[in-house]
Symmetry: none
Subunit: 413 residues, 2 copies
């Protein structure tokens, strides 16, 4: 089964935004056995959109469209779809109710342009937008399915997960695809590939292995294809078990969840608590943790100690330590993590201090030098890392390294 | 002058990678007055690529192609281009020398597949690749320019900057395009549209206005097209000034930078310092600030006080306040922000406490209730917000609201 994605909006074509929607949608579709044939980004121009729709319908059976549904003049997707299907627009009461509720909630007057957002081509079913005013639209015409969704990522994502994917699954006869993800940290893609080469060679035709590397982590994704689930799950689990055993301690999870969620799940299960002391990561580690619901069960909080003063006053790092060894040192990292344990009274703590760059590097402490410490009441582990010269990547890699150190300490305790 | 971008490779279509190249290329092209008509991502499939090339050439004069130039079997761009132009492949000596040098540098034996990387369609000029083995290719056929480049971002970027853009500028007579971005916070797209409807109506044919909304912010982007800069910049500035005046205090910047960068620039310019006290945003505000280089000039750090204990011990919030009014209250937000000023000794502080959700809501304090405080030595401003029920969005919207309150306080001080 083939799909195409059309993204509408000048903001992609002038490079103002990066199209992250398409990759997300492609992953979701692939997980259900639907291949994406082409992704096309086109401008807010009627003729251009009409042409893109016709071309896509010539290649695929499912056409997913995002963008161009806002209330302003330059958003013309809806009118263009009506013209494409040669139908008129009608006011949809459910969509109108949704718009009215949103405006009521925020105590705003409903303008004429907002009212218009509830008008849709008469041959569509609307997809309720629980996160915004523009309804999604589902068309089933001449054996092809067209779905138009807003370009705002979270509005599109909820529609895809709540409505579009479930509906596609009930309408289409899709093959059975089972996925299994093994999350590994601390080893590169080619090293892992070499380590499990023989297992990969043993894989049957209908099980594929993909390496998905990202910032110090590699996800190994096994996908098994078949007509029924019988036998398929067992085979998948067998190969998963072989890979997990071979890769050893670099495996941190056997499900597709973020690294910090592995920690939250583990610690919540054991009733353990965590605090952090961040310098160069500047709040990023805390943010990764607290973006997950229920994190307050484990996470007490922490300090972002960018200045010397905060390191001393909030964490109790000694002034001599900072001046003798520097803020980026084994000694400071150690005092930071032990200060966090003491001040914040958590079972475990993480501390990170480094030079994110691009400024601040010296000959013996170049940009990318990061000291990370993890500790509990009985043990403190400190390590030095040397990352690259890109600020954002240094922040991200520091977080991954810190989480991996914490997982290792948690497992041995 | 119109261009199209074709990205070749299955990794985009299965959602393994996000296509960031296209946005970058589009920005570069736009800055030179070349509009991108369409971006198409197609698979490593000869027929599909041939069709995409023909379609693109039907719409545009410049076709930029990335990807599919690696040494492996599934990289077929070069053979497909030769077939498209109906020519053979020839060994290019400059390209071969480049490949040989790279292998010599890394002390690797040159394999047959690597040798093949120096073969190119006989009707192209090569573009030397200073960062990899695959040469770029420049074709000028029937008045259309085709450029094929590697998909590896930095290899493509160097080719674009060093060769492709300069060469396009010498060959083509390009129009002038000027952009101006007005960053607004705190008003919705439709409200803004209504507010400036008459100004928008006054815009001449050659100045376009786009609304780019994102999480409580709307960027208003004016693009002016012309044959020369004379008069164009003035006209653009006139309309910018009219819009800025009309929109009033919701305008926070007249350049295209992130909201927190507006604050950092302003505070750095005045030698002011900042600290934060975050509860429901859990480090996100700190992270947004510290992702920018040079933020340490302004930012001292702060506390992520998820627990009652940390609110008391780190920020000095009174125990009675927490128990009498709750952690999510005007009183707690006030004590948090004043505690941050006192403990962290910064000129300004921001405090955020709320219920990010999905759990933790009550009847009078539903999920999405957030109290935000900003303060300097003379003034504390506290406001209550009622966002929605999505955790990540509550975090993001809280950050935007806090930054807007801080900008407002900074401006009036």
């Amino acid at each position: 089964m083939l799909a195409e994605i059309i993204t509408i909006g000048d903001e992609i074509l002038i490079g103002q935004i990066v199209d992250t929607n398409s990759a997300w949608m492609a992953r979701k579709l692939n997980a259900e056995g639907i291949r994406v044939k082409q992704v096309s980004s086109v401008s807010d121009n009627k003729e251009h959109i009409l042409k893109a729709l016709a071309e896509a319908a010539g290649r695929a059976d499912i056409i997913l469209i995002t963008g161009g549904l806002g209330p302003t003049k330059d958003d013309i997707t809806k009118l263009t779809l009506a013209e494409y299907f040669n139908v008129g627009l009608v006011l949809n009461n459910d969509a109108l109710k949704n718009v009215e509720n949103i405006f009521k909630k925020y105590n705003r007057p409903l303008l004429e342009v907002n009212h218009k957002q509830a008008e849709v081509p008469e041959n569509c079913e609307i997809i309720q937008n629980n996160n915004g005013t523009a309804p999604g639209m589902w068309f089933n015409v001449d054996g092809k399915i067209y779905v138009s969704m807003p370009g705002v990522p979270f509005e599109m994502m909820y529609m895809m997960e709540d409505t579009v994917i479930p509906k596609l699954k009930t309408i289409l006869k899709l093959p059975v695809i089972l996925h299994k993800t093994i999350l590994t940290v601390g080893e590169g893609e080619s090293f892992l590939a070499e380590k499990i080469a023989d297992i990969e060679n043993d894989l049957p035709e209908n099980i594929k292995l993909a390496y998905l590397p990202k910032m110090g982590q590699v996800r190994l994704r096994l996908s098994a294809y078949g007509d029924s689930e019988t036998g398929l799950r067992e085979k998948l689990e067998q190969f998963t078990a072989r890979i997990v055993e071979r890769v050893g301690h670099n495996v941190v999870a056997q499900e597709d969840i973020p690294l910090e969620k592995v920690i939250l799940n583990f610690m919540a299960g054991k009733g353990l608590t965590l605090s952090v002391a961040e310098s160069c990561t500047g709040g990023y580690v805390s943010h990764l943790i607290t973006q997950h619901e229920g994190s307050s069960q484990v996470f007490f909080g922490g300090a972002v100690t960018y200045s010397y003063d905060l390191k001393e006053n909030v964490l109790g790092v000694k002034n001599e330590t900072l001046y003798q060894f520097g803020a980026v040192s084994r000694e400071t990292a150690t005092e930071m993590v032990e200060g966090a344990l003491r001040q914040f009274k958590s079972d475990y703590a993480v501390a990170i201090t480094g030079i994110a760059g691009p400024g601040g590097g010296t000959e013996d402490k170049p940009v990318g030098t990061v000291w990370i410490a993890v500790a509990n009441a009985n043990k403190t582990v400190v390590k030095k890392f040397t990352f690259g010269n890109k600020r954002i990547q240094n922040i991200e890699r520091s977080a991954v390294a810190a989480f991996f150190m914490l997982i290792t300490l948690l497992k041995e305790s």
